[in-house]
Symmetry: C2
Subunit: 607 residues, 2 copies
């Protein structure tokens, strides 16, 4: 039997013996992080599918819910497992709560088993509301899967570093003061932060507890006179001087360090003592287990839920952070151009290289940058048909060989002590088909249209998204993912609250926000194109019509012009492209080896 | 004392004597119609302000809430009345419910007086929710203002006509069958329709009870075996054979005609008898008085509220309606071109004409069309600075004289037995300033961009709106109204559920929907530009990326090319414009007098 089919069956045996009607599993850690440490790769362990997604198992059905980005990958990886793919972000999608409500319409009571640590309160509440409060019984089993998963990885424990105000602009004390002012204004006694990137931002700490996301597994509780950080770091391993120094610095700033697992008890007793009468918490990153503890131990009106104020404050970068991000993009651009030069040189020399070699080489160039702390996400190095998977995972063994023809796509980014990068370039390796050229050109038109947008203050990303799509739509082409996501400062490469996508999100774009601009086209079995820069939202002045905003591209790496279909481009687009490439050359060339600089001069000549 | 100030004071006296804390008045009729008969021009009677808006009067404040379209008009008309303008559809708007909740934050109980007939249930519920259920006492006083308004106009009573399936595609019986199928599918016993245009559509009847909107003041109650039309038409005035014939036709189709004022009693008794156990009603067009009757006389769960299914069904025009709309636009285009020719000829001859003369002349040309039933809204005939008011009301006496320079804007439309039109053209009367030319060109770019959009099935209007704005935004110009509204078939010139504007409205655009495309620029004290066509949403085929939709302009009237700033236009825009103008000439010229046709040939030469 297929290994994963067997695991689904084991789960069903457990369900039967315990009287559960359905198990809902996510890949979430206890903080609803987008990426999680291996301990929480629960969906992957059960099904073999390694992308993002949620799993639902009933007696007669096992289903994986995931979005457009992962359809091809999921179909491939789920073969033989008996797990069906349920598509989200498509017309007529049926999400898990609605699906469950349909499946169990005739039941008097539905027992829904969840790992309360590995699922957000919001998700469980949506399920309860869909099935009906009176009919739903949640069986909360923390670490549910540990019962089957013998060699399940343990909690991560990595060194903690701190960042100074010279790097992040706002000192820890300033941030705490700001948050306490917010508490005071809103009439709250305390705020519990559960989102790992918000905690890292608040305390100016970074770790490596989650791959690519430089966060520390922890909770942060701030009141008018205490700061309590519940963190899984004790005892500090011998030789981890970084963490020890960081903890001393935090203590000096009156941050009280407590054990991660004490959060529930501490909260309960503080509420019980009337020390906290009004607690604010954002349910979207609160796990269901902790939510249960709060509900059990608090009186009505003790807990106020809402959007964390830290998310928005963190998304609006200050001048110091912007300077850091620009420096990160300068060095990152140098690494990218050196990589692209190497790639072209290798192919011209007839050397045999594959996708994985490329991701290693790009890693090497980034590693030479002082302050480099690793990739900001797993590099997508995809040649030909593989690039049609927007989230292709380049395999270490057996990745595709590159040939001097067609399109190669590389989507990668770095974490630096002074910023985070995320860039995609699609590279013609030699002759391309007319369709490849057209797609390359149309996606670039979309990228440019968004990048040079000017818009009134108050405009939300979803009101701009169509700009990046319209040149594609006009040729009846489209892409199934968002156009832009927020990017953290040496933090998560995906952050909110803003984004640029079709979904209605009323968060206005604000000066200081950094977002990606990454339209694409994907043709299964043929090729994929994506062009991505990070763009900084900036003030563009005021006039009779109000205040205006615009974008500045932060990413510095040329766009290849050799395969552009010239007559698909408007004059204004060509002007933008020539100016951008010229700026890339002017800015990067002083930092490039002379052979690379000479090559880049040719690559960036105006068209 | 200012007459209107006096009326506000009279209202306050009534408030004091009755113990009301606040009176909320709207211009709504009992069906929450956008336009209402003079009887419900309550806000205008109290304040002198004649645009759309809602009035709130407290002991120490009188405020009028209206949106961007009416700011200039409201500021002018409210002078000396003591009524303050509260702006809506702006950043940081404070709507009435929120404002009331702030004003009365310290009150234990707030008595809110409303005319339950002249305010929708939705509006009152929003107010109750904002202030708090426990603290709000609604004083429902039907026809509240009649206590002060001595010569208040009575209910309208105009002839009723019917339309056959050869004109509207679906017979009355087909529509009733469709609605009964919907009731059956949803498990409802009855639907109460309260929106006048939905009732007119369902019964294939038209009246003139509301200026410009060819509707009949009535309620329609449909069950599995009865159709009851509550209409204020008895006794039919002598000589009104139209209404008599219509009623006979309706009776033959088993439509039971009852008196308008019996709706409440009839509903109450049918629910009481258990004849109706589940009644569906759309609260957005339900007045608060009838809502109260329903609440008093029904058990819990007897009444289900939601969006009426008729609105969407009505918005998607069938082939017969589309054919009619095209015919209406052909004749309307002929009238427009004859008018524009007349205008140019008059100015060239040095004749003295003013804005009001123009609206009369345009009316005359439309009147010559067989089947013309009047304007679809009050013609906006605005010269120079007057055109900066998007909803300028052209005065009968003292309207502005036209001179052979600058821009003249005319926004008008007709009701025909076979369709409804709505068109705006901005006409250069002679030399224009560079700014006028630029604005004219940029607005046309926006108009064209939306008109030639291609988009995936499922796209909502708010996801397209930016296309019409982006060319303006790029030059840091904007307009404060929506880009497009739905248009009925020989029905209201504004209809939902779709629209094309910045506000999030998830209703997808569907093939058969007709919407306006009317971006603009308004410069107070200088000039205004708006270019408006009606556009039909159409299928544009299917490919690997899904199903595609596009628009077809229905409006047929040339765009003047003489003041275009050529270098602001892309090649693709010039192509669109030349093709459109050519189509206008080809289609209209056979119907034009030869001098007008010759003139139009010159006006439509390619640029």
């Amino acid at each position: 039997m297929n290994k994963f089919k067997g695991r689904v069956e084991s789960l069903r045996e457990m369900m039967r013996s315990r009287g559960w009607d359905v198990v809902v599993l996510t890949g979430n850690d206890p903080h609803a992080s987008e990426y999680s440490a291996p301990r929480w790769h629960q969906v992957a362990w059960v099904t073999g599918y390694t992308g993002e997604g949620d799993l639902v198992v009933t007696e007669d059905h096992a289903g994986l819910w995931t979005d457009t980005r992962y359809f091809i990958q999921a179909e491939k990886q789920l073969q033989g497992t008996g797990v069906s793919l349920h598509k989200t972000r498509v017309q007529d999608q049926v999400l898990i709560p609605e699906w469950l409500s349909g499946q169990f319409a005739d039941y008097d009571e539905v027992v829904v088993a969840v790992d309360g640590l590995g699922i957000s309160a919001t998700t469980v509440i949506e399920i309860i509301n869909a099935i009906g409060k009176d009919r739903t019984a949640i069986a909360n089993v923390p670490d549910l899967l540990s019962l089957l998963w013998a060699d399940r990885p343990s909690y991560p424990q990595t060194p903690v570093i701190t960042l100074g105000a010279e790097t992040v602009g706002w000192s820890r004390r300033q941030k705490i003061d700001w948050l306490r002012k917010w508490l005071d204004e809103k009439g709250f006694d305390a705020i519990l932060l559960t989102a790992l990137d918000e905690i890292a931002w608040m305390l100016n700490v970074r770790g490596q507890d989650v791959d690519y996301n430089p966060v520390v597994m922890s909770y942060l509780l701030v009141t008018a006179d205490t700061i309590q950080w519940f963190v899984r770091k004790g005892p500090i391993p011998e030789g981890d001087n970084e963490t020890e120094d960081s903890f001393l610095e935090l203590l000096a700033d009156r941050v009280n360090i407590q054990d991660y697992s004490d959060i529930g008890m501490a909260l309960a007793s503080m509420v019980d003592d009337d020390y906290i009468r009004k607690l604010f918490v954002d349910p979207s990153s609160l796990n269901y287990d902790l939510y249960g503890i709060l509900k059990e131990n608090t009186k009505q009106d003790n807990v106020v839920t809402g959007k964390s104020p830290v998310a928005l404050r963190k998304a609006v970068k200050n001048e110091v952070e912007i300077t850091g991000m620009k420096e990160a993009h300068l060095h990152d651009g140098v690494a990218m151009e050196r990589f692209l030069y190497w790639l072209e040189t290798m192919l011209e020399a007839g050397e045999s290289i594959n996708e994985y070699d490329c991701s290693l080489k790009l890693h090497d160039f980034r590693s030479e940058i002082e302050g480099f702390r690793g990739e900001s996400f797993e590099t997508i190095s995809a040649y030909g048909p593989n690039a049609a998977l927007p989230h292709y995972a380049t395999p270490e063994y057996g990745s595709a060989e590159l040939y001097p023809r067609g399109l190669y796509l590389v989507d990668s980014g770095g974490q630096f002590l002074f910023g985070t990068t995320d860039i995609t370039r699609t590279i013609p390796l030699g002759p391309c088909t007319p369709l490849e050229k057209e797609d390359y050109t149309l996606v670039l038109k979309g990228h440019i249209a968004l990048s040079k947008a000017v818009f009134p203050k108050g405009t939300a990303g979803c009101q701009l998204d169509v700009l990046a799509r319209e040149p594609l739509w006009r040729s009846k082409r489209n892409f199934g993912h968002g156009t832009g996501h927020g990017v953290g400062f040496y933090l998560n490469v995906h952050e909110g609250p803003q984004d640029i996508r079709q979904n209605f999100n009323s968060q206005a774009l604000l000066p200081g926000m950094i977002t990606s601009d990454e339209p694409g086209i994907y043709r299964e079995g043929r090729h994929g194109v994506r062009h991505e820069n990070l763009i900084l939202c900036k003030d563009a002045g005021e006039n009779d019509f109000g205040r205006w905003l615009c974008f500045e591209p932060l990413t510095l790496c040329h766009f290849d012009t050799s395969v552009l279909v010239r007559n698909l481009l408007e004059e204004s687009e060509i002007r933008w492209l020539n100016e951008y490439n010229e700026r890339v050359y002017d800015t990067l060339s002083p930092y490039l080896p002379s052979d690379v600089a000479t090559w880049l001069r040719q690559k960036t000549l105006p068209i």
